[in-house]
Amino acid sequence: MIAPAFKKYVSLARCSMQNTLAYRLSFILNFLASFIGLIAMYCLWQAIYTGQDQLSGFTWSQMQAYLLVTFFVNSMLSYYSESSITSKIIDGSVMMDLLRPIQFQKARLAETLGSCVLEGLLSCILIGLAAIFTFGISLPHDAGTLLLFAFSIVSSILLKFSIVYLSALLCFWTTSSFGIYWARTSITNLLSGALVPLAFFPGWLQSTAMVLPFQGIVNTPVTIGLGMTAGTDALQLIAIQWVWIVLLWLLGKWMWSRAVRQITIHGG
């Protein structure tokens, strides 16, 4: 039996899933577009690897797996989830949320996770297809690594949500979402290792990236999944993910209360 207080968020997640299905065509098209991006990256890296066995510790087959895992992680929490938060703030329907006995941050997380289920399913299918054509994936073989990998992916989604949520809240002050969306996307893509593995970065940038939360989104699950970090190192990376999740969640909570005061006291 689920506690009723929790059940409301489960229902929200379910509705968000239905909502995503309502937009299935444009959802799938959007997905295919990023899949094309994946193919482009694949060809690019293939060209780079011509005549090379290994680059910065990555073999070509590891690189292929890297691309696929990155695609999977990046397709979670797509533009749809992000824009559903920002548009609430920008068109003022955040007021309707304040009228209900729900907490904004938890409600948004629930909705995001709801659509992530669909996004995850769809990208699994596409990755499955890609794997058939490339034959180059070396995913973890032992159950322990697989478990850690799965757990780090879940943590990665929560971490990404925390970051997206924070940047969405900035809309309270900017009243426009595009600049924030692009800035957040490019910073996340660069510093998470989604564009280029962090191992390819110059030393200073790599160490900068490692102290920031973004690396937990792509770098952590990917290196665990590829077996490049294992055992206590892997656990440590996951622990770092969680430290960030908790910190950013609290920061989000604080920022929300500030933002709400802003609109409710001074008027939007």
């Binding site: 409301k8 229902s11 309502a22 304040l98 009228l99 209900r100 006995p101």
Partner: protein
């Protein structure tokens, strides 16, 4: 203690002051100046359980702002609010659980999922027991005639359907208090009636307290015994609808159709105070001369007196009496034509 009580409730919004033109916009980037705008300026309101109160005023009078403060969405700048023993903006979640609200301009339904699903989601959000949810949904579906569109998503609904669904959504968890911000805006007559009947029925059967803002005076006459008029952030009248009518809608007009014209009709009413006689139409046309309109103060002479005098001179074929509509009264208040001191005195008298 009343169910809803506010004392000296205030809301000040900060408005950015920008100089005109591009130069002004650039200047605003560096030096921000703000001006305080009072949306609500000291409102004392007491509403008892089970009341239906019309909250009326021109655009920008502060109606919606008051409702948003009562529902816990806005934090007041000053004064006190207690709703059902709670301070709404401090205990937002607890307050939200006990109120329902319809903002006519916004929907609380999910845009892309069927209405039925939206309502089930609200069931979980408000933790409504399944059997009560079922019962309410059945009753609402029947009363509001929602059967034909429960399976549609909100984006496919007409305005009238959407408003009905919104009303159902607001009342599904049997809230003690319901705020209705222009619930009949832009609706056709049939839907309006349906919504009014529904509101009346909920008030009657469940004792739900209702506070509604509206520009539709039919809503007021049909639903509310009590009228609160607000202008520029202040209450200028609070009292019974009937009393404001007695006080400020004293004049009546009798329209009579005579079998033959009475040439010097004015002479008939000599001795009666404040009588205005109007002949409709031009005297060029003989037939319209038989229509006579007489305006009088109903507290100073009676309709029968006037009709009697006319009948002594000619035959009355048909007649009807007009009273000023509540619309006209409120329009006069908006225009500042009524002495607001007299108005509030009348309000105090009734309280």
């Amino acid at each position: 203690m009343s169910l809803i009580e506010t004392k000296g409730l205030q809301k000040v919004f900060r408005q950015a002051v920008k100089d005109p033109g591009l130069a002004g916009a650039v200047k605003h980037l560096f030096t921000q100046r703000y001006r305080d705008k009072y949306a609500v300026e000291g409102i004392d309101l007491k509403i008892e359980e089970g009341e239906t109160v019309a909250y009326v005023g021109p655009n920008g009078a502060g109606k919606s702002t008051t409702i948003k403060m009562l529902s816990g969405v806005l934090v007041p700048s000053g004064g006190e609010i207690i709703v059902d023993g709670r301070v709404p903006y401090k205990q937002r979640m607890e307050n939200a659980q006990r109120i329902g609200a319809v903002f006519g301009q916004r929907t609380q339904l999910w845009w892309d999922i069927p209405v039925r699903e939206s309502l089930s989601l609200l069931r979980d959000i408000y933790q409504v027991p399944t059997d009560r949810f079922k019962k309410n949904l059945d009753v609402f579906t029947e009363l509001l005639g929602m059967d034909s569109f429960l399976h549609l998503s909100a984006r496919k609904l007409s305005l009238g359907q959407r408003m009905r669904a919104d009303l159902a959504a607001a009342l599904l968890h049997d809230p003690k208090i319901v705020y209705l911000d222009e619930p009949t805006i832009g609706l056709d007559v049939a839907v309006k009636h349906r919504i009014r009947d529904f509101i009346k029925e909920m008030n009657r059967s469940k004792g739900t307290t209702m506070l509604l803002t509206t520009h539709d005076l039919g809503d007021i006459e049909d639903l509310c015994e009590r009228l609160v008029i607000i202008d520029q952030g202040r209450i200028i009248y609070d009292g019974k609808l009937q009393e404001v009518k007695d006080e400020f809608a004293r004049e009546r007009t009798i329209h009579m159709q005579l079998s033959s014209p009475i040439p010097d009709a004015e002479e008939l009413f000599r001795g009666l105070p404040e009588i205005q006689v109007k002949r409709s139409g031009d005297s060029l046309e003989a037939s319209s001369d038989t229509d006579l309109s007489i305006r009088f103060d109903r507290f100073r002479c009676t309709a029968s007196d006037i009709v009697k005098r006319v009948m002594s001179r000619g035959e009355v074929v048909d007649f009807r009496i007009d009273e000023p509509s509540i619309e006209e009264i409120i329009r006069r208040v908006y225009d500042g034509k009524l002495d607001s001191a007299a108005l509030s005195a009348a309000g105090k008298g009734s309280a």
